[in-house]
């Protein structure tokens, strides 16, 4: 039984249809990978699932906990248990990471400034952070920094995974989390994600390249081309892509890991 079900999702950006009917079922405990070449609709899929205002839903539904989340605001989706690790985490000046994490955690718990029992205590917050920071090879020094401001590529992606670890979603979408990362950072990120793997979490990894899948082994791999899935299978699909790239769908792009400085 699927815990998270995408049914015939169609979406467009600035009047151009990008997703042309995407269906996918994820059960908690599973790791799914969506792979595709540039322009196949990967980003549209992640943004539409989370409710970015720049993407228009033209049809279909996304069912999670008995609700069509497409009707919900992004914050409502998050509080329901969804999480998106951004490909390009956004810089927000003037707000410290610590403040951001604490506010997000309080929101997730339904703290609205009134019922203090729902509020995360400083002690609890510190102890939650401590363990996660270690796994991601991060330290306290990033907590007073403004959200993603002046972060290196690796720091941004690790900060995304840290947020995921703190917020404990049930469905996590990792949007090209491997892009722009050196091999060490990919390993740290993968280690943190693998630690969270378990029966309470379904993961959707969106990626162009197979490399991240060497560290986070997917149960299912789906190939997205021109807004539709053209192939679905187990981990072996990734191996096939690694050898032949996307050429069988007329795309001259490799799925080999890129070298990052």
């Amino acid at each position: 039984m699927a815990d998270f079900e995408i049914k015939d999702l169609r979406a467009s950006v600035e009047g151009r249809q990008i997703l042309k009917g995407v269906s996918l079922s994820i059960a908690k405990g599973e790791v799914h990978a969506v792979m595709g070449p540039n322009g196949s609709g990967k980003s549209t899929l992640s943004h539409t699932l989370m409710g970015h205002p720049g993407y228009t839903v033209d049809g279909g539904e996304v069912l999670f906990k008995g609700q069509n989340v497409l009707a919900l605001e992004p914050d409502e989706r998050a509080r329901l248990g969804m999480f998106l690790a951004f490909q390009y985490p956004v810089v927000v000046p003037g707000i410290s990471m610590a403040n951001f994490l604490r506010t997000a955690l309080n929101s997730k718990r339904g703290y609205d400034g009134k019922d203090k029992s729902k509020q995360v205590t400083p002690k609890e917050f510190r102890s939650m952070l401590k363990g996660e920071l270690e796994v991601l090879h991060m330290d306290d020094s990033f907590l007073p920094r403004y959200i993603n401001d002046g972060f290196s590529g690796g720091e941004k992606k690790r900060a995304e995974i840290l947020q995921m670890a703190m917020l404990k979603p049930e469905i996590a979408i990792l949007d090209e989390t491997d892009s722009g990362l050196d091999i060490d950072s990919i390993k740290f990120v993968a280690e943190a994600v693998n630690r969270m793997r378990g029966p309470e979490l379904g993961i959707l990894i969106i990626t162009h390249y197979t490399r991240v899948l060497e560290f986070i082994k997917p149960d299912f791999v789906h190939v997205l081309v021109d807004g539709q899935f053209v192939l679905s299978g187990g981990a072996e699909v990734a191996d096939r892509l690694e050898k032949t790239g996307y050429s069988e769908w007329g795309k001259e792009e490799t799925a080999q890991p890129q070298e990052v400085a």
Partner: protein, 469 residues
């Protein structure tokens, strides 16, 4: 047996004994403005003759000067419908507990006692037109620091007062400095002797309370050579039904090697006209810093300025303005480089929402011979919706050589990407917007003592509530 003559209080008291029944003047002040009212104010305060004359001369100037036609629309102010002097309470309270309960309630909401416990050196809180609460730590007195209300300063330190009063901002400077000089009441007076550093901020809280009541406080700060002081004023006011005028004058003298920081957070109710003249003179290697936050009021016109009088002087203005529906914040700063090798910066942040309007208005003047000066102006405006408005009016006059002058201005909206990012973490839209706005003014907030930073963030939150559709 001696006979005590019977006197009818309120009728022939004045004739027989030459003084007024307090109630008549304390509680039944008249509206409007004329030489008699000005004389009465001065007489009530038992001021020296020179002050009475200065007030009357200032009234003349006020009457002659036309209303400024630039900036905000001031034509709706009815000067004849304003109380120019009110006294809330006859005596000054010495401790917090002695304050009248309704004043306390307002201050409690602002966290004043908490702030005092933590780091107050002294408080003088202006309630209506008179200072009712005043405390001063003994160590300040020992160091020779004078921190008092301006009325008391005129009485207790007449020579010092006369030497500096009206020297930085003469009555004829502008229409509202003339008005203030004619009818001023209350405000703070600070003198810091040579080489004395006041390490804890001195604070005052101001509040307008009565309907149609003018508030014309007058503040004078003198930092003698090599001294340092940080003065903080914070304001809040309840909502009224008719217009109210607040027109303060703040004069500051920062002598050689001294440093003065003046921090203001104003949150006048949205029917108040807030027309303030603030100016400092900075001498050799002295530093003057204005930290100025304007929320509330219907119209604010305020341009803290620094006259950089001698080489090495430094001036800073850091300001934040928030304009909501029906509000116009016309604020900025002025830096007048009189001497060479002087530097200045103006950083202005403004936020407009719900059709509110913010204007940055600044003036950088560099006099002939004031070579090797540096000045940098940065204004950032944040618009929260399409109805709101922000303008920039920078004026630069440079008549010297080898001058470095920079100006940067940005206008932005709360970005969809930032909003989406915060919301994707479960933070509701309104709270996310508030966070972004608070983040935008963080360069300002971080300069404030903690309590004020918290209070400002809370005020922004209140302002933001319901602003999001």
């Amino acid at each position: 047996m001696a006979t005590v003559p019977k006197v009818e209080v309120g009728t022939d008291y004045k004739e027989k004994y030459g003084f007024f029944v307090p109630e008549e003047y304390v509680f039944k002040a008249k509206r409007g403005l004329n030489p008699d009212i000005v004389k009465e104010i001065s007489w009530m305060k038992q001021e020296p003759e020179w002050m009475t004359k200065m007030r009357l001369r200032s009234l003349e100037i006020f009457r002659k000067k036309p209303m400024p036609t630039w900036g905000a629309d001031l034509s709706v102010i009815d000067f004849e419908n304003i109380f120019y002097y009110l006294k809330a309470s006859d005596k000054q309270s010495k401790t917090w507990e002695e304050l009248p309960p309704d004043i306390k309630a307002t201050y409690d909401r602002l966290g004043v006692p908490e702030a005092e416990r933590k780091f107050l050196a002294g408080v003088s809180a202006q309630y209506e037109s008179e200072v009712v609460y005043h405390s001063l730590q003994e160590e300040l007195t020992k160091k020779g620091v004078i921190f008092t209300d301006t009325d008391s300063a005129l009485r207790d330190h007449p020579d010092l007062f006369k030497e500096y009063f009206g020297t930085v901002i003469p009555p004829a400077d502008n229409k509202f400095s003339a008005l203030n000089t004619a009818v001023w009441s209350g405000g703070s007076f600070i003198y810091v002797p040579k080489g004395v550093r006041v390490e804890i901020p001195l604070q005052a809280y101001f509040r307008i309370n009565a309907e149609n009541m003018g508030q014309f406080e007058r503040t004078l700060i003198i930092c003698d050579e090599g001294s340092f002081v940080h003065y903080i004023e914070g304001c809040t006011a309840p909502i009224y039904t008719t217009d109210s005028l607040h027109s303060a004058v703040v004069e500051i003298i920062v002598k050689k090697d001294a440093r003065c920081r003046y921090t203001t957070i104003q949150n006048w109710s949205t029917n108040v006209f807030n027309l303030v003249t603030k100016r400092a003179m900075a001498y050799a290697d002295a530093t003057m810093e204005w930290v100025d936050g304007n929320l509330g009021s219907q119209i604010t016109m305020k341009y803290p300025s620094v006259y950089l009088m001698e080489p090495g002087a430094k001036g800073d203005v850091l300001s934040v303005a928030f304009a909501g529906k029906g509000q116009h914040q016309d604020a900025g700063g002025k830096m007048i480089h009189v001497a060479p090798n002087t530097t200045s910066t103006i950083t202005s942040k403004s936020i407009s929402k719900g059709g509110g309007r913010t204007s940055y208005r600044g003036h950088i003047k560099i006099y002939p011979g004031a070579n090797n000066c540096k000045s940098f102006v940065k204004c950032d405006a944040l618009l929260l919706d399409d109805e709101s408005r922000s303008d920039t009016y920078p004026y630069n006059d440079v008549d010297a050589e080898n001058v470095t002058l920079g100006h940067e201005a940005t206008v932005s909206k709360v970005s969809d990407e930032q909003l989406f990012y915060l919301m994707s973490r479960g933070i509701p839209r309104g709270e996310a917007e508030t966070m972004i706005v608070n983040g935008f003014i963080e360069p300002f907030t971080k300069e404030l003592p903690l309590e004020y930073a918290v209070e400002l963030n809370r005020l922004i939150q209140l302002e933001m509530e319901g602003s999001v559709g």
